[in-house]
């Protein structure tokens, strides 16, 4: 079995919440995500979704990895509707359902394009829409915006806050970027140590939509200092 990667972790997501998960590389964030997504099984412990034990059961919550991982040989529409097809829905019906949401995700007109014909931001939005079609309002995002340039990133942040409020999504997202965590989150967990544990939990009380100069407010800066300290701390 070897050394444990993560240990004694307890976290929760309230309905409609956007929660950030911060921590340095190798601290076990992705391992934790894999367990929450049901792709990996923990040696001990449980994952509960609305009280139901879903430990080791894949396909119950949406999971999006770092890269967009769109299949290069499927069109955008087929990529996006893939989770529905995998669940046994007829292809035509799955496409119809996906087509209805393409516009809201800023993908109108790219239904029949292949992923390499889309921009980075569009691919990420397509990946998010696909994650949404996993059928649950809970989505786990592993560094969803890390591969994008700064401008596309802040544009996507605004858009994501919009969509997740409209659709009532509950999101846990991993990030390396403290500013990103502070801009998006209701709450932030910080993981640190080896094996990784939750070091700190921090609520950001500023209401949405957060003003453009939120990043210069005393609350932001104070929270940032707290987070930086927590990330560096060892057990």
């Amino acid at each position: 079995m070897g050394e444990p990667v993560i240990q004694d972790i307890s976290l929760h997501l309230e309905q409609g919440e956007l929660v950030g998960l911060l921590g340095s590389s190798g601290v076990g964030k992705t391992t934790l995500m894999g367990i929450l997504a049901g792709v990996d099984r923990p040696d001990s412990g449980k994952v509960l979704l609305e009280g139901e034990d879903i430990t080791g059961t894949a396909g119950r919550v949406g999971y999006m990895l770092q890269k967009d991982l769109l299949l290069p040989f499927k069109t955008t529409l087929d990529n996006v509707s893939l989770p529905l097809v995998l669940k046994g829905m007829k292809k035509s019906e799955a496409r119809k359902q996906a087509a209805e949401l393409m516009a809201r995700f800023g993908l109108a007109g790219s239904e029949d394009k292949y992923p390499h014909q889309l921009s980075g931001g569009m691919r990420q939005r397509a990946a998010l829409l696909r994650t949404h079609f996993l059928g649950n309002k809970v989505i786990l995002l592993d560094e969803p915006f890390s591969a994008l340039d700064a401008l596309t990133k802040s544009e996507l942040h605004r858009w994501f806050l919009d969509v997740s409020a409209q659709m009532g999504l509950t999101t846990l997202f991993i990030t390396h970027d403290i500013d990103e965590a502070l801009t998006l989150s209701h709450r932030i967990y910080v993981m640190a140590g080896a094996p990784g544990t939750i070091q700190t939990e921090l609520a950001i009380s500023a209401p949405y939509p957060r003003p453009a100069d939120f990043a210069f407010s005393p609350e932001f800066l104070q929270a940032k200092r707290q987070l930086l300290e927590a990330i560096g701390r060892q057990n």
Partner: protein, 261 residues
Amino acid sequence: MIRKLRNTKNKGDSLSLLLALLILWQLVCSLKLIPPFLLPSPISVVRAFAADFVPIMGHAAVSLGEAFAGLTLGVAAAFVLAIAMDRSDYLYRALYPVILITQTVPTVALAPLLVLWMGYGPAPKIVLVFLVCFFPVAVGLLDGFREADPDTMVLLRSMGANERQIFFHLKLPGALPRLFSGLRIAVSYSIVGAVIAEWLGGSSGLGVYMTRVRKSYAFDKMFAIIFFVSGLSILLMRLTALLEKKMTPWARQGEGKDSKP
């Protein structure tokens, strides 16, 4: 776009070179620098082809039938083996080196043995074609399956996909380009394999025709049939490329972007 232009230009260059060689060849023959029974002129080769057109087509049908049968069996076997080896690590580790080693055996040299074992009927020809076609397709498929992105596999599992769904949605389409590069080789081998197997005996087929005209020193017919076989190979490879374009539309649409320098 630039690459495409260059491609067409290359094609034009090689065409004009071929044409020049053809004219040179005709000149050498017309000036009687080489006696015609050793080297027939291009014009007499064309005449020979036209004169024997009907029997040649009959023989071609037989050879193509053998090639097609062997190719189909080879591709089917390659699929079965590649899927089995992809699913079982044990089979992969055990068989992959063995398959590579069998490729050092000159398959064509097996032809006399096959004829010895199976007689002069179509069986040894089909088996030889099968043997030469199997390898490139199996290795192409297997490498294609193995190249499936592990992260994407995790993602599909997180969506609740089972092995069969992962195969059809990820592994198989991902392996198509490699399958087709194997298939292009297999297709050209198949017709040559059939002809070579026919050299060793039989009652019809392009290889049988070839041995007959050789024995009667009809070198113009000999040349005609060589060109015909190579033309057939090119045609079959073209058809394969066409099928590939049809079956991998994403690659075609990528051309514009990928060929940027």
